[in-house]
Point group: C2
Chain length 192, copies 2
Amino acid sequence: MNKGTLIILAGPSGSGKDTVMKELFKLLPDLKFSISSITRDMREGEVNGEKYNFITREEFESMIENKQLLEYNVYCGNYYGTPKAPVEKAIAEGKEILIEIDVNGAEEVRKNCTDYFSVFIMPPSFEVLRERLVGRGTDKMEVIEKRLEEAKAEMARANEFDYIVVNDDLMTAVQNFKTIIEAERCKSDRIL
Amino acid sequence: MNKGTLIILAGPSGSGKDTVMKELFKLLPDLKFSISSITRDMREGEVNGEKYNFITREEFESMIENKQLLEYNVYCGNYYGTPKAPVEKAIAEGKEILIEIDVNGAEEVRKNCTDYFSVFIMPPSFEVLRERLVGRGTDKMEVIEKRLEEAKAEMARANEFDYIVVNDDLMTAVQNFKTIIEAERCKSDRIL
């Protein structure tokens, strides 16, 4: 049996990361997803245990204290974090588990994990990114400008990742991501 | 343009390395092959400049002196080596160039090169390797036993390579090798 691995995925808002991920899971049904633990209120349409585990502040702080998180962060007064146990379980069972995270979170995870590789989803250009964010029509221009600033800062750190998948054409990006996962199964440290 | 890379390929006698390579070149016509320079006499059926460049002892020793080789070795009184220039040219042009070599040669090349990844072709088992070498029917048992000893020693060093391609089914092995090459094109240091 090959050894399992953690797949760290990041990419700026507007890179199409979520869509790439959704298509990837269709092609690789055995791929696990790392569910984040968070303390904010559940929003309409969200299902507990799907993308997030909604837990209390006390539960989260106990996880911090007991070093049960690969990384965590505070955003708008709420905790967001990656529980260690499911990742370690998946790797021990020889499975691949994907974690979607921002570049700072990715940096933390790398420090606390040995069996991983990392992928950065890159928009084809900064101009395309701007068009996509404006095209959504859901955000005010000042929100879009803030997102673009954040995206620029994230893209400048793409070199911290092992692989870059340029999301120009969606299915090409998904196929490239799948190819990376398949090639990584041939890594000597996964086999020996 | 993506950066080019050297692909270091090794694998024991009987691993099916040559057949895998032949099929791979059919699938990837742009892949370059690193032609070794050697000083032994040309054998029947060999073409100068195909797998080897046949050069004189003096020419070879001048290449050593001028540090124009990535690695070299002496075998049965003849020199065998990898010229540096074609590899550097291919990498500078953004191409992929494959070098077939033994594990000691691979170690030397790694020391003298920065842009590379390495692949070890592994027979499915030591028993299958024995069957293949015996099955060829071309060698005496003592030659086979010597090859098997060498193979065992080479296989023990598979961990020095980035990837391992198990050659159980030929076309699966070729496909895995191709997948590795395609995934490596997404490496951030090839793109940025």
